[in-house]
Symmetry: C2
Subunit: 348 residues, 2 copies
Amino acid sequence: MNDYRGKRVILTGGLGFIGSNLAIRLVEAGAGVTIIDSSVPGCGANLFNIAPIASAINVIDSCIGDVERFTSALKDADAVFNLAGEISHSRSMEDPERDLYLNTVTQLRFLLACRANCPGARILYASTRQIYGKPVYLPVDEKHPVQPIDFNGVHKCAATQYHLLLARRGDLDCRVLRLSNVYGPRMALHLPQQGFLGVYIARALTGEPILVYGGGEQLRDPVHVDDVVEAFLRAGLAPDMEPRVFNVGGPHPLTLSEIAAAAARQSGRSPIHHLPFPESLTRMDIGSYVTDLTRMQRELAWAPGIEFEDGLRSTLAYYRGNSDRYLGFTKHPERPAAVRLEYPASTQ
Amino acid sequence: MNDYRGKRVILTGGLGFIGSNLAIRLVEAGAGVTIIDSSVPGCGANLFNIAPIASAINVIDSCIGDVERFTSALKDADAVFNLAGEISHSRSMEDPERDLYLNTVTQLRFLLACRANCPGARILYASTRQIYGKPVYLPVDEKHPVQPIDFNGVHKCAATQYHLLLARRGDLDCRVLRLSNVYGPRMALHLPQQGFLGVYIARALTGEPILVYGGGEQLRDPVHVDDVVEAFLRAGLAPDMEPRVFNVGGPHPLTLSEIAAAAARQSGRSPIHHLPFPESLTRMDIGSYVTDLTRMQRELAWAPGIEFEDGLRSTLAYYRGNSDRYLGFTKHPERPAAVRLEYPASTQ
């Protein structure tokens, strides 16, 4: 992957989970990396994530919507990995305007700034399987209907459409990866609303019980962050072509019970507790999800290489060596007040 | 259609083109009508539209996002016809944040207020064929891929998804009508960015040339507003059921040349001018569009009854009697400054 040598790369959300892993790989590949990240509370930014490369990169402490703060960095960009955003489904239901701001309003501003300053750059957007909603067939390919069941899905879908319409117009060269459940080093384990995999890993580390709701028979296909990073790097290099959307998932479907069992096994301490499915989660439950990897394999010669049991082992090893950096946060971080977008009355 | 007698109906955007026609029909049917409309410049509100029923309805001068201004009206509602919004594709490209605010931010607030205050009301949303983008097959049914080619399409799509996800969750009882090109009395003829049909009608009235770009062979299926009103009324009464999305279009596909010829013929004065397709429009051109009416016919026993030539004749007759109310506006209304959504820094 030496094609990134000397390339100037912008990474939004680069202090977060996937972004920091991608930043490390890009620095190793010889790219010049600039991270844009304002460490929005709740979104997973962690300066420790980039400790291995802190001296080799440029970090701009800015919301991606405050475009005047990084215009000059954009002007030089060869590629933009656009990973900033909020991923919590539950939090989007509690404060929809916050999610709308973080995932849609700021993305609109960011892309318009890219159009103005780096129209030739390849742009890679991290979207999510959540926009498909409850699958109507498995495995889910890129033509599956888009039927989000929470506000996060709606807002990530809108940002996806921004990327795609600007690409269709010839304004920007965008690719979109729709990610399944990603796990690995540098997850925000202290943010339970970011997904069950982080919760399972945190509990495996601490020896707390691992909770399985209902029968635990729903399928997921966890994908290791190293595989996801490889997917982004390939999508960043592939020639300009259709299609522009790719589903990215793990090597095998596993039931939630199997995932919990693996976490308990590798923990050596955590028991598994079965509980009734909470009503609050029922209404956001998507049932089973499995990624159709055909397009990624065919177009980008990419397939996930890391089996879950192996990936989980190395992931736990990472956190065991750095647990104070990931579990040392308050477990219930202070929530900001509800967000309200303002529209100057004078312009209405 | 006496099932609306005594019903309390909220109509957002009720001073606009379709909304005012719907309000008149609802008053005739014996409904109690409350309009919520803040007359956003550029969106087609015109107090003259509701002159025939002004004494019979309640008008709340409020943006649909300022929910505290109409909470008590919502509490009584049996049905909500949600037609507020900006429909201009070109304007959304000039000021995407304005479009995002008018079509998405305010819709989110409005629907959350409906959930809190009238969860039992039937909600009917006016969406647009624009969200399908450039059709990949004709006629376009409700399963056609959603691939908007402008910001207006993205934002109307997000609002559509708000309605549908709240319906899927059981929070609200929503239906969505995706409208083709609607024409008839009470269009905002002074706003050329609202679509070519209004422009053709305005020019037929004044005798100015009717412009056809390119070969004029693209298909459209103009639908008369009376047919659209009937579609809304039926969707408002149908029992709670899937599906929730319906495409609404006209009785016959016509080429743009045929539409222009009809307008010129009925004008008696306007010549037709053929011009090259402007580059600025090429990038927003969707080619041909024809609505698949199967679902509306099957589920709601609705079909468009008004042939274009007949509908155009009565439409021109309406405007000839009221031309000062529709052509008397400045032709190039003052544009508000670009909109920027604010997010209080303290809550980030």
